[in-house]
Chain length 149, copies 2
């Protein structure tokens, strides 16, 4: 029941890219350095995010990544779905699961998995990158203030 490093790194990167929304593209290398993420690993993660349509890339010198949508159109649910595949505690309640479990008719546990999947999904899809950016700024302001005192 753990979210992978890939998932966490990807979310960190997405929030960072969202922070620069409307400006110059931001490089994977830069993100990797600032958040202490293995550079080549992050490259792959960015590719995943690109394939999922969450970021767009600009190749060549001065290239980098930008959001493919606005920060308030991308939720953490979108991100984790792209990165970790699917948010569900059990395969039988996975979205892209076609084959029905043979014991399904008498299975009483499936409902529980369904409920858990629902509450995770609800939480994650209610939080946008914009929300995370706002929160971050707020947090940094507060930290700066503490520093002054």
């Amino acid at each position: 029941m753990k979210i992978s490093a890939k998932g966490e790194y990807g979310i960190i990167a997405l929030i960072d890219v969202a922070n620069y929304y409307g400006g110059e593209p931001i490089q994977a290398k830069s993100i990797a350095n600032r958040y202490n993420i293995p550079e080549r690993f992050l490259e792959q993660i960015m590719t995943t995010l690109k394939k999922a349509g969450l970021v767009k890339s600009i190749r060549g010198s001065h290239g980098g990544y930008q959001l493919a949508k606005t920060p308030w159109e991308i939720t953490l649910g979108d991100a984790l779905k792209a990165l970790d595949g699917d948010i569900s505690p059990m395969y039988c309640v996975s979205e892209n699961n076609k084959e029905q479990c043979s014991k399904e008719r008498l299975c009483t546990i499936k409902d529980v998995w369904e409920e858990i999947r629902g509450c995770i999904q609800k939480t994650l899809s209610s939080i946008t990158l914009k929300d995370m950016c706002n929160k971050k700024m707020e947090r940094e302001m507060k930290a700066a203030h503490m520093y002054f005192i």
Copy 2:
């Protein structure tokens, strides 16, 4: 973000043992056969459940397992905590995590993990073995009725 086979098998076994609450002890072998779970694997799982204080065992011939508490005192949260270790999407919000993350002061994502952990926990700890037994019986009654028609 998946619950392990160990977790699922353990919950199935617990519900089964709860079904026999107040009666004779039920053997791991019997559970394994009826639910198609590898026998020796289930043995280990039952040991885990015993160590967690959820079942008690009776050794020797005619031995087996019984609930260590009443079915309405044991929740699915208790079960999964014992089986899968800890229900949290990230180590930094795990219950038995002592060392604070170095980036914690500026980390805005931790709150999200915390929220998810909370909603999973809430769901799982609200469902008792008794609930699951009732549900199962209901389901079986319905199935039997369908069969008659």
